[in-house]
Amino acid sequence: MNDLMSQAIDLMIAGMGFVFVFLIILVFATQIMSKLIGRFAPEPVTPKKAPRAKPKAPASVDPDTAEAIKKAIAKFRSRHKK
């Protein structure tokens, strides 16, 4: 086994070890954080199905509204023609 191999194994052990240690700490820190907030600053909950990425610029009118508007236009036009 050459030097590169042993280095790669060392890196794997150190790396995976550290990734797990870090994320386990983060799990605990997060749980503690949530408990503290639940106890000292309980809040009205946010709806949990918030979409992951909602770029707001292009958003203009939601599909439902658009549909309704189109119906309204159609109706308006048909009336107007009469």
């Binding site: 794997m12 995976m16 994320l23 983060l26 949530s34 809040e43």
Partner: protein, 440 residues
């Protein structure tokens, strides 16, 4: 006539090398995959186009002024560069291809100070830095491009599902085996003599397993910039292929019963928890892994802007105008590394082969970790959400959901898979920090 001859001898048709022709074909292939097959088009359209631009003969768009001067090899210019780059060349000496090679090699080995002096000297002779060389230096050389993209990704990420069930963070940890397993794979290829890699190169290749574009580009630019093109292409291509790569592995490692496991509904998460979480991550980084601070710092900053609710203008801009602008130039900059002499190499094939292995290992370890956790926790965990730990947000979470629906059409795993999915982003950034710390 003389002038028409100049135009002809300076044309691409007259000068094109086989390598450049192949690379232009590669660029066209990437455009085809991006546009027709929908492979991560936001990045692969600029990368593919940039790859074509970088390989236009004689244009030297991806070369510095000094490299362009060496390419055109006028004796008086080479004489001026010889002193700066410490090459033994005298003004009158014949310019053979060997001489040019010596200059190219000396330029590659030159110090930061020598490079900038050589560029200034070449500029005095009328050569200029290629457009894409400038893009690369500003966007990737400075590391600012991947970091700004990561900030935007942070501003687009909802940690709600992860906060509702923080234990799933461990799935995002396990999937990072893909990274380090691939480093081992690269070392193995080197040991068996199939390919040559240095430790830095092996590590940079491994990061493909992180399944995260900006992280891959950041790490590759720090550890092995010469492989950046192949690594970024590999990372984005396999991310696009996640719906093909993952399902067979997921099915092979799970029983139909496991795939049918219903998970309990996620608890609601308060706004304050979402605001505080990026700060908790930041402090953990500050305490335990400062080398991950640029990546995770910008990521958490983006997420805090998103969640804090008082800077919506900034959050919107970082998710739209800013990330789009940077994406355009980041893609072109990555494309500038798709030059024939750097890309057409057996190493690239190795990188492509190792990349898919990386995704496979990551997927498998995520699933296995979920099965392991299932033995120790009260609340049931569907092992299919483990594969989402590789990140490739949100594709991998959708794959978990889809495979779950095949087993049980009423079992929606999407939200449960989003937890490990975003944890995978953090996990890869931590792994990146470890590699930069130990090797950088």
């Amino acid at each position: 006539m003389d002038k028409l001859l100049t135009l002809w001898t300076g044309s691409g048709l007259f000068n094109m090398t086989a390598g450049q022709a192949v690379m232009i074909a590669v660029g066209l292939l990437l455009l085809y995959l991006a546009i027709r097959k929908g492979f991560e088009p936001l990045l692969l359209v600029p990368i593919g186009f940039g790859g074509i631009l970088a390989n236009i003969p004689e244009a030297g768009l991806a070369l510095s002024a000094a490299e362009n001067a060496i390419h055109f090899a006028k004796p008086e210019v080479l004489a001026a560069l010889a002193g700066i780059l410490d090459v033994s060349y005298q003004a009158g000496q014949a310019v053979t291809p060997e001489v040019v090679e010596v200059f190219k090699h000396a330029y590659k080995e030159a110090s930061t100070g020598e490079v900038s002096t050589a560029i200034a000297a070449a500029q005095d002779f009328g050569y200029t830095n290629g457009m894409m060389y400038n893009f690369y230096q500003v966007v990737i050389g400075s590391t600012v491009g991947p970091l700004v993209i990561f900030m935007g990704v942070g501003a687009m990420t909802d940690f709600g599902p992860l906060l509702a069930n923080p234990k799933t963070m461990l799935l995002g940890a396990a999937a990072q085996f893909g990274i380090f397993g691939t480093v081992l794979g690269a070392a193995l290829l080197d040991w068996t003599g199939i390919l040559d890699f240095t430790m830095l190169e092996a590590a940079a290749i491994g990061i493909i397993g992180g399944a995260d574009g900006p992280t891959s580009i950041y790490v590759a630019s720090v550890l092995a910039p010469q492989l950046l093109g192949a690594i970024a292409v590999s990372a984005y291509a396999y991310m696009a292929m996640v719906p093909m790569i993952q399902p067979p592995i997921m099915r092979a490692l799970t029983t139909p019963e496991e795939r049918k496991i219903k998970m309990s509904q996620l608890r609601p998460v308060s706004k304050l928890e979402k605001i505080v979480f990026p700060i908790v991550v930041l402090i953990a980084v500050a305490l335990f892994l400062p080398d991950a601070a640029p990546l995770l710092g910008m990521f958490c900053f983006g997420n805090l802007m998103r969640e804090c609710g008082v800077v919506e203008r900034l959050s919107d801009t970082s998710q739209n105008a800013l990330i789009n602008i940077v994406t355009i130039f980041l893609g072109l900059s990555v494309g500038s590394k798709l030059m024939a002499d750097k890309f057409l190499d057996a190493q690239t094939l190795g990188i492509l082969a190792l990349g898919i292995i990386a995704f496979g290992i990551g997927t498998a370890c995520g699933v296995l970790m979920a099965k392991l956790m299932n033995k120790f926790t009260k609340e049931p965990i569907n092992p299919l959400i483990g594969s989402a730990g590789v990140s490739a947000v949100p594709m991998a979470a959708r794959v978990s959901n889809k495979v779950g629906l095949e087993a049980n059409p009423h079992n929606f795993l999407l939200m449960h898979a989003m937890g490990p999915n975003v944890a995978g982003v953090i996990g890869s950034a931590v792994a990146a920090g470890v590699m930069i710390k130990l090797l950088g």
